[in-house]
C-alpha cells in the first residue's frame, strides 16, 4: 500500500511545465545518413536531394523516428546546450525513489507528428508531467505509471512552430521478488541472492547448511519428520522437536525450469526441483549438472552444498546413477 503522502506529493507536480531543452545541432544530413544506414531505412526522401525536391516535401526531410534524436544530450549525461533548462522533468521519480520505488522501466513511447522536420531546422522541446497513476500491481512489481509529454518545436524568426509530441510513460516500481532492485537507468553493484528470513524455527536448517549438513526437523514425541520447519508437529501437535541429518539421497518428485523473466543474479535457464528425500520429506532446491532433456521424474539425486556471495550456503541436488 502506497504512503498517502507519496501520492499527494507526486500528484502535486502533475501539470507542471518544465523549460526548454535545445538541440546541439540543427537537423543535418550526416546524422540522418548515419541513422538511415544502421536502421536499414533506404527512403531517398531523407538522403537524396534531387529525389526529395520532386516530392510533396520539395526538399529533404528528417526521418520521423528521429524526432527525439536531435535534442539528446549525447555522451555526457545532462550536458544540454546553453539556454536549456536545468530543471529535472523526472523529479517526480525522485520522490518515488525516496519511498523505495527504485526500479524504472519504459512502457510506452507515443510519437505524434504535426509536420515533417526539414533540413536546417533547429529544434527544442518542453516537458509537461501529464499524469501519475494510482499504485498498480504488475508482474514486474508494484508501483506507479508516470506519463510525461514532450512538445517539440522548430525555432522560427516569425514564431516557433510545433513539429510533434512524444508521450513517454515509465513504470516506477518495487520489484516483485528481489531485495536488491535492478535499477535500469543506473549501474548498481552486482546484485546478490536474497537472503532467507531466519527465525528460531528455521535457524537449525541454515546453520546445518553452513556445516554441509542437511538437517530435517523431527518430533521427539512421535518421531514424525517434517519440512519445511514449523513449531508444531503436524501429527501429534507436540512442540518438542530435534533434528536428524538426512543422507542426502533423494529422488526428483517434480521440477520446473525457469526461463523468463530473468531476475539477477540467478543463471538461466534455472532448473528447480521438488525433491523427495529418502527419509520421506520433500523440499525445494536448485538442480545442478542437469540437462533439461534428460530430466526425469523419479530420477536419483544427491545433495551437495554451494556457497553464494560468500554469505549463504544452500543445498543443491545433482543427478546420480540409480
Amino acid at each position: 500500500m502506497a504512503d498517502p503522502q507519496l501520492l499527494s506529493d507526486a500528484r502535486a507536480l502533475v501539470g507542471r511545465q518544465y523549460g526548454r531543452v535545445y538541440a546541439w545541432d540543427e537537423v543535418n544530413a550526416p546524422m540522418v545518413r548515419q541513422w538511415c544506414e544502421i536502421m536499414g531505412v533506404d527512403n531517398p526522401v531523407y538522403t537524396d536531394p534531387a529525389f526529395a525536391l520532386g516530392t510533396r516535401h520539395e526538399g529533404l526531410i528528417a526521418p520521423p523516428g528521429m524526432l527525439q534524436v536531435w535534442t539528446m544530450e549525447g555522451l555526457h549525461a545532462n550536458n544540454y546546450p546553453p539556454g536549456s533548462t536545468d530543471e529535472n522533468p523526472y523529479e517526480v521519480l525522485k520522490i518515488m525513489e525516496a519511498h523505495g520505488y527504485l526500479s524504472t522501466v519504459a512502457v510506452n513511447s507515443e510519437l505524434t507528428f504535426t509536420r515533417p522536420v526539414r533540413m536546417g531546422e533547429k529544434l527544442y522541446y518542453t516537458t509537461r508531467l501529464d499524469s501519475v497513476s494510482d499504485e498498480k500491481a504488475t508482474a514486474l512489481g508494484t508501483g506507479f505509471f508516470v506519463t510525461l509529454v514532450m512538445s517539440h518545436f522548430a525555432e522560427k524568426a516569425s514564431g516557433d512552430e510545433p513539429v510533434g509530441e512524444l508521450l513517454f510513460r515509465v513504470f516506477k516500481f518495487r520489484p516483485a521478488n528481489a531485495q536488491a532492485p535492478a535499477k535500469v537507468e543506473a549501474a548498481p553493484a552486482k546484485p546478490k541472492r536474497p537472503l532467507p528470513g531466519v527465525s528460531d524455527d528455521t535457524r537449525f536448517f541454515w546453520e546445518g547448511c553452513e556445516k554441509g549438513q542437511l538437517l530435517i526437523q523431527r518430533c521427539t514425541a512421535c518421531q514424525t519428520l517434517r519440512h519445511p520447519p514449523a513449531p508444531v508437529c503436524i501429527e501429534c501437535h507436540s512442540f518438542d522437536w530435534d533434528t536428524v541429518q538426512a543422507s542426502g539421497r533423494a529422488a526428483l518428485y517434480s521440477f520446473v525450469v525457469m526461463h523468463y523473466p530473468e531476475v539477477p543474479p540467478f543463471d538461466y535457464p534455472n532448473p528447480i526441483g521438488l525433491i523427495e528425500l529418502e527419509e520421506g520429506v520433500r523440499l525445494i532446491a536448485g538442480l545442478v549438472g542437469v540437462d533439461r532433456e534428460q530430466l526425469q521424474i523419479g530420477q536419483r539425486l544427491q545433495v551437495e552444498f554451494q556457497t553464494f556471495d560468500d554469505q549463504q550456503t544452500l543445498p543443491m541436488f545433482r543427478p546420480v546413477d540409480a
Binding site: M31, Q34, W35, E37, I38, M39, G40, V41, D42, N43, P44, V45, F51, T55, R56, H57, P63, P64, G65, M66, Q68, V69, M72, E73, G74, L75, V105, A106, V107, N108, S109, E110, L111, T112, F113, P116, L167, A182, V184, E185, A187, P188, A189, K190, P191, Y260, E262, V263, P264, P265, Y268
Partner: protein, 139 residues
Amino acid sequence: MTSKNTKRFEDVRPGEALPELAVPVTVTLINGGAIATRDYFPGHHDADAARALGSPHVFMNILTTNGLVQRFVEQWAGPEAVFRSLKIKLGAPNYPGDCMTFSGSVTQLDADTRTVEITLGGKNSMGNHVTGTVAVVLP
C-alpha cells in the same frame, strides 16, 4: 527496399497484411542504433555494463526500436507516405543473436484525411519486443 512508388490511399484494403520483415538483432545493430540516436547509456554498447545490470548482453534502445518500426511501415507504404503517429508499447528486450520479425495489418482507414492506421508487432524468441500502431497519410 522501399519502393519508389508510394501506395495510393485507394489501393489499400482494410485488413491488408504488410509483408513481414525479419531483422537479425546483432551487437552492431544495437551499438550502432544507440549511437546513431545519441544514446550512450552503457547497457546499449558495453556488454560488461549490461551484465552488471543483470542482462545477458547489451540490449536495444527504444529509439532504435522506433527506427525499425518506421522502416517496417515505410517499406510497405512508400517514400511519400507522411507519418502522423508512431505509438509503441515495449515488451521483451532485444538481445544479440535473436531475430525480431515484424508483422502488421491495416486496422483503420480514414478517407477524409487519407490516413491509414497499421497495427503491428515485432516478435523475438521471448515474445513481443514491441507492439503498436502507426498512422500514415497517403497520396
